[in-house]
């Protein structure tokens, strides 16, 4: 398989590792867009990223100050981000991340045998909740995906799905029973999505759950799951376990999607009304000219 030639994707910021799971000054290695990249963080979490080279192997101690020929690097939302092209100055905003009373955790980074766009589409889909996340995010007979709104915001260059509602038996670790839960979805990056859902603790605020997909190649990702939630009682590991349980249920579904790359031709797969956000997402990828991880519309 050819390495990535998609300049839209090459010029994006991509997540490559959770800072909380990285020891300062120790080299970590991963794969981004079929290229081996290495990184290390300083004691205050500032990252340095470079294309892997002999002499600085995983586990080595790295005096980060001395490393030359660096790739762009950024620390954001608890992760190291980099780019193999010329990235914009800023990453998409998640203002809630700055709120001091939120719990901010990497629920896990999982390797998944799926293309990044297929994983985003699954994240946007509410229709599967009662069947795949039975008794947690949904339960029969509450299977209807009610009408919701989707827009592609031109100024922010992102997809926004609002007025989503779904009955959930156990929406989060702080739930004490079933409830109608409000959802807002954002797709501010071709391979990243941010979800806002009603907090059981505070009706004026929303829990934030984001999935940041690191494209290893066109059909494999490392899925980084950010939790930024209101929860005063549960230990970190309990909050992580809840999210890992849900992701573990999605994983076989994701890995069995055929074809693995997301077809962008509107006639390739037959959507239903509940797939409105997926239809907008495919159109948005087409408009951007994304070719990596998708099957583009034939010219």
């Amino acid at each position: 398989m050819a390495k990535c030639t998609d300049t839209v994707i090459l010029n994006l910021w991509h997540p490559i590792g959770a800072i909380a799971e990285t020891s300062p000054f120790v080299v970590e290695e991963t794969v981004l867009l079929e290229e081996r990249v290495s990184f290390a963080v300083s004691e205050n979490g500032e990252p340095v990223v470079w294309r892997s080279r002999p002499g600085l192997r995983p586990g080595d101690r790295a005096p980060v100050i001395d490393i030359d020929e660096r790739l762009p690097a950024k620390s954001a939302y608890g992760y190291v981000w980099t780019s193999l092209g010329s990235p914009p100055e800023d990453l998409f905003p998640i203002p809630e991340y700055a709120e001091a009373d939120r719990r901010k955790l990497n629920a896990a980074t999982f390797g998944v045998n799926v293309s990044a766009p297929r994983a985003i589409e699954n994240f946007l889909d509410m229709g599967h909740f009662p069947y795949v996340h039975t008794d947690i995010l949904g339960v029969e007979p509450h299977t209807e995906v009610k009408e919701y709104d989707v827009e592609i915001s031109a100024d922010r260059d992102e997809i926004l799905a609002t007025r989503c509602r779904f009955f959930q038996p156990m929406a989060s670790t702080t739930s004490d029973g079933g409830a109608d839960v409000d959802y807002v979805y954002r797709v501010p990056h071709p391979y990243c999505s941010v979800l806002y859902k009603s907090s059981p603790l505070d009706e004026t605020r929303r829990d934030v759950i984001a999935v940041f997909l690191q494209p290893v190649d066109q059909e494999h990702v490392r899925a980084h799951m950010l939790l930024c939630v209101l929860d005063e009682d549960n230990e970190d590991k309990v909050i992580k376990r809840f999210q890992q349980t849900i992701f573990g249920q999605d994983k076989p579904i994701l890995e069995n999607q055929v074809p693995k790359r997301l077809p962008l031709d509107p006639r390739a797969e037959t959507p239903i009304r509940a797939d409105k956000s997926a239809i907008a997402y495919r159109r948005w990828l087409s408009q951007k000219g994304v070719t990596y991880g998708v099957i583009p519309v034939a010219a």
């Binding site: 999982f110 390797g111 992580k240 376990r241 349980t245 849900i246 249920q249 994983k251 076989p252």
Partner: protein
């Protein structure tokens, strides 16, 4: 009450959740942050199990490690019917022990491949997959010949035993390690039978049997 030190995505922990569900045993769960926190290698956990592995149980002060050993204990103590671990049948106990060891081989291969793919463990994944296929072929033939003789389970008993539970999780999760089961039809039929045992419960990555009746 039994305390299970548990990680949701662990197939070895799932073995115990399965047996306790089949037997209707009430228990308490202590979640362990196996990944990414590596809590099973923490100082406090190593005092519980110096091998740094899950699962572990504490039953009224008795601390036991190793999924297969715990299956033997729980079935011996809590199964009044005596069918899951038939203590009065030397031949069946021998067979069960043989397949419990085989299940450890499935863990060493199929589970290792899954850890490599999903959690980035530095294992030789090609060797792990090849090893799993070798074991799956052996089990598939064993189950196929059993079906010809009217035997539904791994051991020669009319009821499933803890050998079935021990082999099930890392077979049903094998695709997460890039090990398809298309070539093992007898294994697939047996998996469906396991899913239809009264009290069956799922874990993340395992789905319940469909509503259709099992093929005769």
């Amino acid at each position: 009450m039994i305390t299970l030190y548990d990680y949701e995505l662990s197939g070895n922990c799932y073995k115990l959740r399965l047996l306790m569900s089949f037997l209707g045993i009430d228990h308490k769960t202590v979640p362990i942050d196996f990944y990414p926190g590596r809590e099973h290698k923490s100082e406090w956990f190593l005092k519980l199990n110096p091998l740094g592995q899950l699962p572990v149980i504490n039953d009224d002060g008795l601390i036991l490690r190793d999924a297969q050993a715990i299956l033997v204990y729980l079935a011996s103590k809590y199964d009044p019917s005596g069918t899951w671990y038939p203590r009065d049948s030397p031949a069946q106990l021998g067979e069960i022990s043989q397949w419990l060891t085989f299940a450890d081989g499935i863990t060493a291969t199929s589970s290792a491949a899954r850890l490599h793919d999903a959690l980035f463990y530095d294992f030789d994944v090609d060797a792990a997959r090849a090893g799993a296929h070798r074991l799956f072929r052996i089990l598939d033939e064993h189950l196929w010949f059993g079906e010809q003789q009217g035997r539904n389970w791994i051991c020669s008993s009319s009821h499933p035993t803890i050998a079935d539970i021990a082999c099930f999780p890392y077979l049903i999760l094998s695709e997460e390690g890039g090990i398809p089961r298309q070539d093992y039809p007898a294994i697939r039929r047996w998996c469906d039978r396991v899913k239809r045992i009264k009290g069956f419960t799922v874990m993340s990555g395992v789905f319940p049997a469909g509503p259709a009746k099992a093929a005769a």
